[in-house]
Amino acid sequence: MIEEEKLTESLFEAPKIDQQERMVEAILFASSDPVTVKEIIGRLPHGCEPEQALKNLKEKYKSRGINLVKVGDCWALRTASDLSFLMQKETVEVRKLSRAAVETLAIIAYHQPVTRAEIEEIRGVSVSRGTIDLLMDLDWIKIGRRRMSPGRPVTFTITQNFLDHFGLESARDLPGLKELKSAGLLESPPPPGSPASEEFMEGDDQQSELFNEEKTI
């Protein structure tokens, strides 16, 4: 609480340093531009020398959410730079990657470096520009070397970011077709009641339970 008295008095002799601090603080806060020391002096009551006040304020604000910074000859209050993330209001919308995009990505991952024509051949469908752009935007694929074949088409390869995202050390860690097969991945389900399948089916069930929990990528 500030007594009237103190302020009235301050018009005649320089106010105490803590009063000067308050004043400097208010001036810096309300000003639409960074303020020079000269300007601060011009606006403070007669006899103030705000250098000390500025120094004290800088120290006081050091660990706070607002910092006092010197910008050239001027002083300004700024939000602490480590908190700049608060100044962004981010809305994240999670979307599932389209089937086309996932397939394209898978083909690139398994066949890299691969040209667009090759992707289309494997998928049996043309690849839209948007799909490639999206995967590039996500930084999951990048353009590799040109193929030394007629037309010198560009190839696509996966990125380090892809490996990080999918938790892979290298593209070689992607399960191979043989493994996929042994995992029952590449086969149609065996006809029910087929003798050879039962044991494995059982095993698979248990495994899927076991791994569902741990498998978050």
Binding site: S32, K89, E90, R95, E179
Partner: protein, 268 residues
């Protein structure tokens, strides 16, 4: 509410109205300065120098009528609402002066007067608080917002989600171009019973002595908890299988103690 019919002979006191449009009764010419009949009444009431609660409504009505009459005699155009008020006040005056008619349901003169007094008091109260309100510290005049506004950046980010499983399924889908059932692909950490049996069978016939199952896990299966679990379970299941067929012996010293096995071949 007290309605006094006290007669005041005071004329308008010019000092009361230094800044008001009506500074004395000689200058009753300007109706423009009033914000309607209630405002005029309120101004007139101040000439009674009384608490609004104790105002003489009868006297006020007379003053108002006199004022309007004067304005009209000076050929000043008097707005319709002032005339309506004048008519109503003339009616009120008659109700206040005549004895009440006991046969009607109409409000008494006192009731009507009380309501008018209330209206005047309320208007005065609103003026008082309006003044108080405007005398408050105001933003941009007495206190200030931050001069430099930092705009909050609005970022709309779309996060695409795809798991390794999605990827592999997609690839498998393309490669097989067939329907396939949901599957488990990650068999890295699965040590099957088959594998364990295969490994144990290699021991049969050799004399090695008691072996702790936990020390008998295959190379590379002790690196993570899930691998240890898988290898232990399968190895244990394999020892049971082989004990059943008579190839192994099993023992456990106490509950939850280490499980040990040895090849029966030792005795052969």
């Amino acid at each position: 509410m007290v309605i006094e019919s006290k007669n005041s002979t005071e004329s308008f006191d010019s000092t009361t109205f230094s800044s008001d449009p009506m500074s004395s009764d000689e200058l009753i010419v300007d109706l423009d300065g009033f914000e309607g009949p209630l405002d005029l009444l309120l101004t007139l009431s101040r000439t009674q120098k009384l608490d609004l609660m104790k105002i003489s409504i009868l006297q006020l009505a007379e003053q108002y009528l006199e004022f309007v009459e004067k304005a009209r005699s000076l050929q000043i155009e008097v707005a319709a609402d002032y005339l309506v008020m004048a008519a109503w006040l003339a009616y009120l005056k008659s109700r206040l002066l005549l004895p009440p008619d006991p046969d009607t349901n109409e409000p008494t003169g006192e009731e009507l007067a009380a309501h008018l007094a209330f209206q005047l008091e309320r208007l005065q109260a609103m003026r008082d608080v309006a003044a108080k309100l405007m005398a408050r510290d105001q933003l941009g005049r007495d206190f200030f917002a931050r001069g430099i506004e930092e705009k909050v950046e609005k970022i709309r980010r779309i996060k695409y989600q795809a798991s390794l499983l999605d990827l592999i399924q997609a690839y498998a889908r393309i490669k097989t171009k067939d329907e396939f059932r949901p599957f488990v692909m990650d068999r890295d950490d699965v040590y099957t019973l088959e594998q364990a049996l295969e490994r144990m069978r290699g021991l049969i016939g050799y004399s090695i002595g008691w072996i702790d199952i936990s020390t008998f896990l295959p190379d590379g299966w002790t690196s993570s908890a899930s691998r240890i679990r898988a290898a232990t379970a399968s190895t244990f299941a394999a020892t049971l299988e082989l004990a059943k067929s008579g190839d192994l012996e099993l023992r456990q010293s106490d509950n939850f103690g280490p499980i040990q096995f040895r090849s029966k071949g030792t005795d052969k």
